[in-house]
Structure formats: C-alpha cells, structure tokens
C-alpha cells in the first residue's frame, strides 16, 4: 500500500490491546508490512492525527490510513470520525471503521459522516481473521492521498 510511492502509516485506534494484537497479526499475514501505530484511546489518537491544537497541520504531507474502533473509553469513535472528516487537512484520509457494533443506525451514521469502510468484528475467530486478511489485501492495493 502506498501513496505517491511513499509508505503509508496505519493508525490503529483500538482500546482493546488483545484486538489490536490480533488485527496486526492478521494484517501481517496478508502481507501488509506498513508501519502500524496503535492507540488505545481517542485523545492520544487525535493528538497524533490532528495535533495537540487539533488544527490538522501536524499530519500535513503524511500518508495515513485510520483503522477506528467506535467504542473507546474516553470518547466515542464517531466523535473522532467527525473531527477527522470535518478538518480540511485530514478529510480525505481513508477511515476504516472496525468495531463490534452492528447497529444499523450506527453504520448509516458513520457513512453519513464520511467513513470509507465499515466492518463488524465477527466473534468467530476464523471469520475475524478472514475479514482482517481481506482488509489487508485491500490495503495492499489501494492508493492513499497525502494530507494537505
């Protein structure tokens, strides 16, 4: 996966460290070797993506793909999505929602706010691993725009 020939960083916002580990393992198995930066809460993740001042200038020129869980301890993933998609610098960043929630209204809401992909984590590990590997394969072919 690359953006204009540059390496893309995967920002993984996932409060459950076990999930984070399983997701990383399966992405790697799909042959994705991009750097994965894990965050276990929303505040730290937003600090990284939008900067401490939330201006978005912090990630100018970076190639990022955001893997986002909706249920975080300190804030809702939907709030993070809204902040990223409403920032002029980061609004084009692809955001993949990867969560246990399969509530239809929640899914609609995420797409309305500009989410690019929404995936429900299956409880069954075979399906879970399969889904993540498919996602990994998807990552390996997509093009990512740079932040402005």
């Amino acid at each position: 996966m690359n953006g204009l020939g540059k390496e893309v960083t995967i920002v993984m916002v996932e409060d459950d460290e076990g999930h984070a580990r399983l997701i990383e393992k399966n992405i790697r198995r799909a042959g994705v070797h991009n750097e994965v930066v894990p965050f276990t809460n929303g505040t730290d993740a937003l600090d990284f993506v939008l900067g401490k001042d939330r201006s978005g200038l912090a990630s100018a020129g970076k190639f990022l793909l955001i893997l986002l869980d909706l249920n975080l301890p300190d804030m809702s993933g939907i709030d993070i999505l809204q902040k990223i998609k409403s920032n002029t610098h980061t609004k084009r960043l692809p955001v993949v929602i990867l969560t246990t929630t399969d509530d239809e209204r929640e899914i609609q809401r995420c797409y309305d706010l500009g989410a690019n992909v929404y995936i429900t984590k299956p409880v069954e590990y075979e399906s879970f691993a399969h889904a993540i590997r498919q996602l990994g394969l998807f990552f390996s072919v997509i093009q990512i725009p740079a932040t402005q």
Binding site: L22, N41, D74, T100, E126
Partner: protein, 498 residues
C-alpha cells in the same frame, strides 16, 4: 357539604310535599271560611226579612187604626178608604210574616198569639166602623173610649217590637261573625303565603346548593381529567426513557462482553496455531526438523504461547469484572428501599467530612448551602450518590487549583427539589454529557483509574428514587451535576403502584 343525589331527591320531595300541604291548607280553610260567611249571610238576609215583615205588619195595622179613628171622629168617607185599603193588606202582611217567622222556632212560637191579637184588632176596627156607618157614632166613640183597641194595639206593638229588637241583635251578631271570618280568611292567606314563600326559599337554597355541587364536581372531574392526561404523558415519557435505557444497556453489555470474547476465541486459535509449530518440532520422532521448524517452534514457545495465554487470562478477568459490575447495578436496583426522613444538609456534611483529608491536601474547600432540605427518601442510596460525586470531584480536580465544591438546593415545585453539586475541576466536554452516565464509558484523558461505573450507578440510584441527574459543564470550567429529587419517595412509590 356536598349533597348526594338521593339526599337531593329526598329534600326536594319533602319541600314539594310541604308546599302542597300549605297550598291545600290555604284552599281548604278559604273554602270553609267562605262557606261560613255564606251561611252567615243567608241567616242575615232571613233575619232581616223577618224583621221587615214584622215592621210592615205593624205599620199596616197602624194605618188601619189611623183610618178608623178619622172615620169615627168625622164620619167622612175619605177616612174610611185608607182604613179599608190597610185592612185588605193586613191579611197578606200577616201571612207573609208568619211564613218568614216559620224558619225560626223562637219567632214561630209567637205567631198564634200575634194572629189572635190581629184578629181581635180587626174585629174591634170592624165593629166601630160598622157602628159609624149605621149612624151610631156615639156608640162607636164609646167603643173607642173603652181603650180596648188601644190595649190590643199596645200588645201587638210589644210583640212585634220584641221580634224586631231580637232580630236587630241577631243581625249585629251576624255582621260581627262575618267580620271575624273575613279576618280569619285574611290571616290564613297571610300565614299560607309565608309558608309557601318559606318552602320556595328552601327549595331555591337546596337547588342552588345542588347546582353548586354539580358545578364543583364537574370542575374537579375536568381537573382530574387534565392531570390524568398529563400523568399519562409523564408515565409514557418515563416508560419510553426506561425502554431506551434498557436497550442502551443491553447494547453496551453485549458489545462490552463481546470484545473480550473475541480475544479469548482469537488467542485460543493463535494458541492452536502455535501448538502445531511446537508439535512439528517436539513430535518430529526420528526425522530432523528443518531450520524453519526449529525457529518457529522456538518463537511459539517464547513469544506466541505466553502472549496468547496472557491475553486469554486478562480477557477472562475483564469479562468477570464486567459481569460483576452489571450484577452490582442490578442488585442495587432490586434492593428494598428503606424510606425515612433524611436531612440532606447533615448527609452532605458527613460526605464532606469523609473526604476532608483529600480536599485539605489541595487547600480546597467544601461549601454546603443552608437551603438543603429534609426529604423522605432512601438514606443509603443518597449516601452512595453523593459519595460518588465527592469522589469524582476529588479525582478529576485540576492540578494546582484549590478544589472548590459547593452544594446548593432549591424547591422547584412539582419537579421536587433541585440540588446542584458544583466543582471547579477539569470539566466535561458537551458531547460527553450523556455518555458519562452510561455503563463502562468515561470521558476526557484516561489518566485516572476507573471502570466507568460510578456515574452510571449514580443515575440508576437517582432514577430509583424517582429523580434524575444531568450535568452542566464546559471542558476546563468545572462541572455542575444537577440532581432532581422528589420530596417524598413514599408518594412516588404509591403512584407507581397505583
């Protein structure tokens, strides 16, 4: 005092009956009195007739006597004529008098004597007149001179005069009786009119009271109707809210329980994958494992297996923690409330005293308003609610700023008491104002330990007490928790059961 339907009917019937009786009384008495007056009048007329007949007879006899005297003295025929006319009239008058007097026994008894005297007088008159006609004038004068005619006439005058006098007395009595009856009639009418007016007044009062009662009852029904609708609305709102809460709770619980489950299943599979790597090395039996097999088996034993086991253990522990938290909340919801008088000021002071040490560390201060009321509620629940709020205020205070906690209350009428618990801590972002009351959810920087149970617990306790809790806050500006509490929990419990 409201009149019941039966009482109204009863009193109306009684009044109607009284009015009817009064009316019948008046009519009956009037008829009776009129009858009496009529009979008095009839008697009056008859007595008068008796009297005038007696007078007529006497005056006719006098006429005859006057004619006789003239004739005897002068012998002229023009005196004789009035005598003859009167004489002819006498029998008619005598007959009429007898007839009239026959109706009254006391007068009828005198009739034979009067008739005898009249005949005697007529005989005396005839004798003298005949004597004058036959030229025996001196004999006629002598006859008159004997005073016989005068005595008879005197007797007649006495007899008839007595009758007339008696009749006069009776006439006077009759007039007096009539007047008395007229008086009685007047009084009966006046008394009857008063009775009817009294009955009418009573009826008006009873009807007015009944009408007032009906209007009051209708107004009451209208207000009840209005409040009923409002109560139904409130109840429906509460139900909808409770339903949404249950759904939200179920959603959170399933999601949060599912997350560690995904871990357990995932790492179990990873464990299995690592196991096969180790197996291919340990159970190689004779064949030499390849370089790669050895490497994989070593990595599985040193990294993958411990990692998987650690995650499985921590996830199991997390699940246990979640289940315990849910159990705690559900147990609190089921706990029998002990309803008693609770002095909120004293309760708040006790709560402040228990965190006195931590507040003092930052040079802080707790102010408790004087307006805190005494309520009828569950003491333990309120202690837990305010204990949690005090703990949170200390936990999320802004470092370097002396902690200020203030508790105030005001009476909001129908909504109950409103208690404001304000601190000057780090505050809560507006988008998290509802979230902080959800189970396992927290807000802001995760730099303090906690499971996200406290405020969820506080809200469920407050709702159990018939109240609620919300927050008003800006990030960095402190937070004010606004609690609504009904003044009397027993009433809330009653209305829930009703």
């Amino acid at each position: 005092m409201p009149i019941s339907n039966a009482a109204f009917v009863r009193s109306t019937i009684v009044l109607l009956a009284a009015g009817m009786i009064a009316l019948l009384g008046i009519v009956g008495t009037s008829l009776w009195l009129v009858g009496k007056v009529q009979s008095y009048f009839t008697t009056f007329v008859e007595v008068r007739e008796v009297r005038s007949a007696a007078g007529d007879l006497l005056s006719t006899l006098k006429d005859a006597e006057t004619g006789q005297r003239g004739f005897v003295i002068t012998g002229r025929a023009n005196f004789r004529q009035p005598h003859d006319t009167a004489r002819r009239a006498v029998s008619e008058r005598q007959h009429a008098r007898g007839e009239r007097a026959a109706r009254f026994p006391q007068y009828a008894g005198r009739t034979p004597e009067i008739n005898r005297l009249v005949s005697e007088k007529l005989a005396e008159l005839a004798e003298t007149v005949e004597a004058v006609e036959q030229g025996r004038a001196a004999e006629a004068v002598a006859q008159v001179d004997t005073d016989r005619g005068r005595r008879i006439m005197d007797r007649l005058r006495d007899e008839l005069g007595e009758i007339m006098g008696d009749a006069d007395e009776r006439l006077e009595e009759s007039v007096a009786d009539t007047l008395r009856s007229a008086d009685a009639l007047q009084w009966t009418t006046v008394i009857g009119a008063i009775a009817i007016i009294a009955v009418l007044g009573g009826a008006v009062i009873v009807i007015a009271q009944y009408t007032r009662d009906i209007i009051a009852a209708r107004r009451e029904v209208e207000t009840l109707n209005a409040t009923l609708e409002r109560r139904v609305d409130e109840r429906t709102e509460e139900l909808i809210r409770a339903n949404q809460e249950v759904q939200r709770f179920a959603y959170i619980v399933t999601h949060d329980l599912r997350a560690p489950l995904v871990n357990i299943m995932g790492f179990t599979s990873e464990l299995q994958a690592s196991l096969s790597a180790i197996q291919s090395y340990v159970l190689a039996d004779g064949t030499t494992p390849s370089e790669n097999d050895i490497l994989e088996a070593r990595r599985a034993a040193s990294e993958d297996l411990p990692e998987a086991i650690a995650f499985i253990r921590s996830s199991t522990k997390k699940m246990d923690g979640l289940i315990n938290a849910i159990l705690k909340i559900s147990r609190d919801g089921r706990r029998e409330l002990k309803i008693e008088r609770v002095d909120l000021k004293a309760l708040m002071e006790a709560g402040a005293a228990s965190v006195n040490h931590q507040v003092g560390e930052s040079d802080g201060e707790v102010t408790i308003g004087d307006t805190l009321p005494t309520v009828v509620s569950d003491r333990l629940s309120l202690e837990q609610v305010f204990g949690n709020l005090f703990d949170n205020a200390i936990k999320y205070q802004t470092p370097g700023r002396p902690l200020r906690i203030s508790v105030t209350a005001r009476n909001a009428g129908r909504a109950g008491f409103v208690i404001e618990f304000a601190d000057n801590g780090r505050g809560i972002a507006p988008e998290d104002h509802e979230r902080i009351f959800e189970l396992f959810r927290r807000s802001g920087t995760q730099d303090k330990p906690g499971e996200g149970i406290g405020l969820a617990h506080v809200r469920s306790l407050m709702r159990n007490l018939g109240g609620d809790i919300v927050v008003r806050s800006e990030l960095g500006q402190g937070a004010t928790f606004v609690l609504r509490l009904p003044p009397d929990l027993s009433k809330v419990v009653r209305s829930m059961q009703a």
